[in-house]
Symmetry: C3
Subunit: 340 residues, 3 copies
Amino acid sequence: MADPRFHTVAGPFTVAELAARAGAAIAGAAEATRILVDVAPLDTAGPDHLAFLDNAKYVDALRRTRAGAAFIHPDKASAAPAGLTLLLTPAPYRAYALAAQAFYPDPPPEPGVAPGAIVDPTARLGPGCAVEPNAVIGARVELGRACVIGANSVIGPGCVLGDEVRVGPNASLSYCIVGDRVRIYPGARIGQDGFGFAPDPVRPVKVPQLGRVIIGDDVEVGANSTIDRGAGPDTVIGAGTMIDNLVQIGHNVQIGRGCVLVAQVGISGSTRLGDFVMIGGQGGLSGHLTIGNGAQIAAQSGVISDVAPGEKLMGSPAVPIRVHHRQALLLRRLATKKGE
Amino acid sequence: MADPRFHTVAGPFTVAELAARAGAAIAGAAEATRILVDVAPLDTAGPDHLAFLDNAKYVDALRRTRAGAAFIHPDKASAAPAGLTLLLTPAPYRAYALAAQAFYPDPPPEPGVAPGAIVDPTARLGPGCAVEPNAVIGARVELGRACVIGANSVIGPGCVLGDEVRVGPNASLSYCIVGDRVRIYPGARIGQDGFGFAPDPVRPVKVPQLGRVIIGDDVEVGANSTIDRGAGPDTVIGAGTMIDNLVQIGHNVQIGRGCVLVAQVGISGSTRLGDFVMIGGQGGLSGHLTIGNGAQIAAQSGVISDVAPGEKLMGSPAVPIRVHHRQALLLRRLATKKGE
Amino acid sequence: MADPRFHTVAGPFTVAELAARAGAAIAGAAEATRILVDVAPLDTAGPDHLAFLDNAKYVDALRRTRAGAAFIHPDKASAAPAGLTLLLTPAPYRAYALAAQAFYPDPPPEPGVAPGAIVDPTARLGPGCAVEPNAVIGARVELGRACVIGANSVIGPGCVLGDEVRVGPNASLSYCIVGDRVRIYPGARIGQDGFGFAPDPVRPVKVPQLGRVIIGDDVEVGANSTIDRGAGPDTVIGAGTMIDNLVQIGHNVQIGRGCVLVAQVGISGSTRLGDFVMIGGQGGLSGHLTIGNGAQIAAQSGVISDVAPGEKLMGSPAVPIRVHHRQALLLRRLATKKGE
């Protein structure tokens, strides 16, 4: 059970309620009216807990589980113990996520402007917004419905946020238009000047950065990540894209829908990603590249040329993943021969 | 045209005014009194817009442009359409930057201490300084003329900032002496303890960090970058050095003039860079190295020994760039032969 | 001498006092009652200064030093000039650290809640705590004795901090339990949601992150580093572990005692480190790995499989350090043969 100091459990729910929420079919022991009070992992769950099996590696835990019910793929159902109520679904992890959201919903915003917060009189806040202590909201800012602006965060002049946007503490937004249900984590920096200057023997000449940052619906921007605004065109983050912590996104970058950027990734200026691109942790992309839909870039890879849709790359500089494995193997073999 | 919600265009200006500001010579259609209202890229510019050609890749856009005027290198002038007023300069991008600064000047500070800002009574603020809401300025801080201290930023006790320094929101400065016209972006951390401790079986013994951070004129420090103060000597950033986002600079590092550190670079303690050194994104330097003037380190490279002036390195560990290319080629060839 | 604008020197102390504090034996000129007023490097120290020799590279500076006293390993004592009082110890750097702490102690907290700070009425602050300007302390927070909460920092609801914890400016803590004498540097982000979501064609489904971050005694978390809370289990940082700047620690990671993570390291979710593991700058670890006690991972390495205790790895993907050196050498040789 989650520490009640930090997490408040809702419910209880019946198996039937949770199956409906998650779009799962009841099978196995099939106790649709059984009361469930919490989620738990297979190995620690008790009879009033809901668990799930997603990774085949945990089939043994499934066999021994004392859970009351579990989300499971129909193909794995035969491994379940007799007394377990099965909630069959082709996507058990997704179903678990929805059930866990039922037990642990985001606390609703506590509407109002907290002490110490400074809201410019020209800013417009939608109904149900919460502005936490010492947050600062600039001139002409527009917030949609039920937004939360975290303590000590700063929303710069003119920014527009959609509905149910949650900005964590100590974040800074400027020069940006943000969609609905976006989550900005603590310390994220959005909209500052891109890294644009012209060299000069006396001192670099700053190039005014005249674009914006446009963030689609359902995007997440991780803690201490940085997204610079465009130099003329905009920097664009497509709907449903997930950005982990400490990620850098340069000016004019355009990212499609549903991409996943793991922690410490860096994308240089003017590079474009299609939809559903995945980049592993600490991966880096040069500027002015085009990365096709569904491409996958392994962790720590360095991409220096365009990538076709669906390609899988690895290494620095990045090569197709098969080539990389072959090179690593070859090198290892040669080094062993010569050296020992 | 830049979004007026965020950017306010100045002007208009005549061609002659902009040529003078940028030090360019008027040629081509040569309409010195033509009125220009904005900057724009070659492909979208109209007759009252100013464009530029810097990258040869865009010569086609030049041929088709409807811009009223454009900065251009004399060598490329022959490709320009007849009606275009040319502003000839050997450095078109620099000229564009200066013209764009005319159209989009930094808004001047709005002098005064905003609500919620806490300024220690012993701090001294020069004329025209703006302290934004909820910023905190410590004891004995000295600000020059026309500085801006961003909302929710913290300037620690004793810090000295020159004239026209701009500190973005949510930044933290301590133990530092900062020159004129420096820009510190949101969330940058300057002056905290270096990573210094003596190992011990019971618990690490912290080594007091007794130095400072000294930042020269015209330096930029990117969003969420971190610069630790020296352990005894100072950490020093030379004039005109440009530091991108999420860059780490360890204690005692000394960086010369006009260096460029791209995003996510890391420089370990006590390493010294000469002038005009360039380091690509995610590059890393070990500690206690000496990097000569004008050296260039490719993105993601890992430098573990001294670098001579003007050397170009790549790879992890870094080798001369020609060697790296040859190794990559060789490896690719061998792997292809063996594997297929 | 350290800049008095930032550092206040305590003392003076006698040689005997400092020897006692650092556990060193007096030898050489052996003036136990000599008065020392400051620490200084061997090459700039004067007769009333205390220096140290740790790195054999500086033996020449020892020979020429004018310092009054120096910490030194007994093996190096013969190189010392005649007039120098020696403080013999097997760990001169550690001894220096303790002496420097005597000369430059952390300033004690100035107890009280500063102007602009917002402390929830249900929070409990131990004796001697200092809450700096515009800090925000949430509901049910518990602080031990003599904590400092930096200006503009945010401590989220329910967090528990031990004694003498120092949180720098602009940091954010949430969902965490923190031990004694922990130091959190400016802009660190602790306790936000881990990067957990289930893929979905419409939009990613967020997985509630139901764990916490547990931080042991004497831990340091560097500037702008990020530590996500667990998804169900906790994220755990063992006592005495030192985390540098811009480090990323994913959800469910467990780190043992006395580990050292250099700047820009990234550790993916659910990986476990034993005790005294060292990871060089920009190193990355995949998720769900087990890293044995005392393992050492070189800078920029990428670890993708389990590591045995005491192993030393390098490269991306990481291999034993001898293998890596051999591969680099071989590659260099082959490339030279072929190319020139």
